[in-house]
């Protein structure tokens, strides 16, 4: 028998107003209608490392142009590490990892993953070059190697600037990627998710700079970290509260726990960044909190999407409301 199930808010956390009236809906034995995304946490981790790489590329280019050598080095090396991790996460999550290169056989505007593959490829090459250029001082100054060593800083700057130019796209295309699905709470969030991801990327990129560079040079990274954290908090709040029933998965279950943790970590990190501008220790702690907050945000968003696909309520009720037949 198909059941009429009472759908609506259960209990409700303290301070949360009841925004969604209870709704009745019918389903096929309570089974999901849309398929739950098959992606694992590797993809959520990639959202974090990709954002970190993008934020770091902006910090590195700014540091390069304003003569902050230590900040530039730390941001470029963070970017390289994040890119390598991203590549790993992207490949292992494929059903057929050996066919990863099939991603490069077409460039398809209707597929954010295809567009993203090209953005990621270009970004990685440019940011990778910038990171390799950091090895220039370690190379001998004579002979053919010496010639390369002298050319590297110029190439590094060119690569770094190219990476910075691609960084905003690198940080935000992933928001388009998850929004361009039938996963109810991801799709509904498409006007907000790019801002969550942009903020999260800036916060993490700035945080890495705060951890790796002396406080005398880390000023702009700190500014970016705080601005990013503020954007991340504000946009995530919108996702959690402004989408009616489809906000519910962001507030409940594992997603709710992760996003609450993200809020605390990001807010604490931002306060620490503001107050600890003279202390390397406080800066590093604040940076750590911001990085953890950014990761928790990505994981929370990821979990919320999965939860919204698993319960037919989130597919049926909004569609019925759209039809005006609920």
């Amino acid at each position: 028998m198909t059941d009429r199930v009472r759908a609506g808010r259960r209990g409700g956390g303290k301070g949360d107003r009841v925004m969604v009236p209870p709704a009745e809906f019918r389903s096929y034995y309570g089974r999901p209608i849309v398929k739950k995304p098959v992606w694992t946490h590797d993809i959520a981790a990639y959202f974090f490392t990709g954002g970190l790489a993008a934020g770091s590329a902006l910090v590195a280019a700014g540091a390069d142009l304003t003569g902050r050598a230590a900040l530039r080095t730390t941001a470029r090396l963070t970017g390289l590490g994040a890119i390598l991790a991203s590549t790993y996460f992207l490949v292992v999550d494929l059903g057929r990892p050996s066919r990863f290169l099939n991603m490069l056989r077409v460039a398809k505007p209707t597929s954010p993953m295809s567009m993203g593959t090209w953005i990621f490829s270009g970004f990685s090459a440019a940011a990778g070059l910038a990171a390799v250029a950091e090895a220039a001082p370690l190379l001998p100054r004579r002979g053919a190697v010496g010639l390369a060593a002298r050319a590297l800083p110029v190439a590094g700057r060119a690569g770094g600037l190219a990476a910075a130019a691609l960084a905003p796209a690198m940080a935000t295309y992933t928001a388009v990627l998850i929004s361009d699905t039938a996963t109810p709470s991801w799709h509904a969030a498409y006007p907000r998710m790019p801002f969550v991801f942009a903020g999260s990327a800036l916060a993490s990129g700035g945080a890495a700079g705060m951890i790796g560079a002396p406080t005398a040079q880390a000023g702009p990274a700190r500014t970016l970290a705080v601005a990013g954290a503020a954007l991340e908090l504000a946009a995530t709040h919108g996702v959690e509260h402004r989408m009616g029933l489809l906000s519910e998965p962001y507030r409940t279950g594992r997603a709710g726990t992760l996003l609450r943790a993200a809020r605390v970590l990001t807010a604490a990190g931002a306060v620490g960044a503001l107050l600890g501008s003279r202390s390397r220790t406080v800066s590093a702690l604040a940076g750590g909190a911001l990085l953890a907050g950014s990761l928790a945000t990505r994981l929370g968003v990821f979990e919320a999407g999965k939860a919204s696909a698993e319960d037919p309520k989130y597919t049926v009720v909004p569609q019925r409301e759209r039809l005006g037949t609920l």
């Binding site: 209608i33 006007p191 790019p194």
Partner: protein, 306 residues
């Protein structure tokens, strides 16, 4: 780039210049008897592996739903106190086959009532890939593995699929899925290998009651409209078409249905919309966020030489 929304001819939109007529399925659930011949025929012809041998406790449905390993799925819904007209139609469908159906649900002990006295009905529906006019799976596929055929259908090229899983999340009907041991995405091909030879897809060929009808989509839509008319005249006022309308959220389905209850009762979304309809707006929002990031970086570094 193909168009993202609205009523179009998908083969033409995909670039075919001299395409044959669009082909599809009309699945008339009012004459489905739940024999599952379609499920079996599909597996046999397409060499689809088993989907596990589970007892799900959902009436006679032990398949559960469409998946990488189930390209046809027969849903069973037991309903109390249907209208006499609805029972007439069901009995008529049963009478078209010689098999005695002992398992039809009843509120009394099995065998105490004949076909005439039953007071419960089964809604049965053979679900399948909709071969949407605007197919989310095809739009988002990053490798070009999913493609539009000359018949307007949507097919996976398994030698290209790298198992990225994007199509799985993009389908508004929850049809396409990744096969666990194989890693690639699989779904109904509308028997692309058969229809190219002028043959009928395996499921439609096997269906004993013509619940699954295969043909030119335009003709099927006419036939379906007539069938609804007939059912309405006979008092089955709940009969309605699903997925037939080129103006719906996916531009109309290549495989559409006649249903006797609301779509969600059968596990179908009541108002599916292809996710890529909103893609231009998604990129615009991302563009604003990206510009904001760049601006923040410029401001953070401007005028702050150490």
């Amino acid at each position: 780039m193909n168009s993202l929304f609205g009523p179009i001819d998908p083969a033409k939109d995909a670039g075919y210049t001299d395409a044959p007529p669009r082909m599809g399925f009309f699945t008339d659930t009012s004459v489905c008897i739940g024999c599952k011949a379609c499920e079996v025929a599909c597996k046999e012809w397409n060499a689809v592996p088993d989907d596990g041998f589970d007892l799900l406790g959902m009436s006679y449905d032990n398949t559960g739903g469409l998946s990488a390993n189930s390209w046809r799925h027969v849903a069973f819904i037991e309903q109390a106190a249907p209208s006499p007209a609805a029972m007439d139609v069901l009995r008529e469908a049963e009478a078209t086959v010689s098999t005695q159906f002992l398992g039809m649900p009843s509120s009394t002990l099995p065998g105490t009532e004949g076909r005439e006295g039953r007071d419960l009905r089964w809604l049965m529906m053979s679900n399948v890939c909709k071969h949407c006019t605007h197919a989310g799976c095809l739009d988002v596929c990053p490798t070009g593995s999913l493609f539009r055929t000359e018949y307007g259908t949507v097919v996976v090229q398994e030698d290209i699929c790298n198992g990225c899983g994007y199509c799985v999340a993009a389908c508004p009907y929850g049809v396409i899925d990744r096969r666990e041991d194989d890693g690639r995405a699989w779904k109904c091909t509308l028997c692309y290998d058969r229809i190219g030879e002028g043959m009928t897809p395996a499921c439609a060929q096997a269906c004993p009651t013509q619940s699954i009808q295969y043909g030119e989509l335009d003709e099927l839509r006419e036939r379906a409209a007539q069938r609804v008319e007939v059912l309405h005249q006979r008092g089955v006022t709940e009969a309605k078409l699903y997925g037939h309308d080129p103006d719906d959220g996916v531009g109309g389905d290549g495989a559409f249905f006649l249903l006797l209850d609301e779509p969600e009762v059968y596990g179908l979304p009541p108002d599916p919309v292809v996710t890529t309809r909103d893609l231009p707006s998604m990129w615009k929002h991302a563009g604003v966020a990206a510009l904001g990031m760049a601006a923040a970086a410029v401001v953070a570094f401007l005028g702050r030489r150490p």
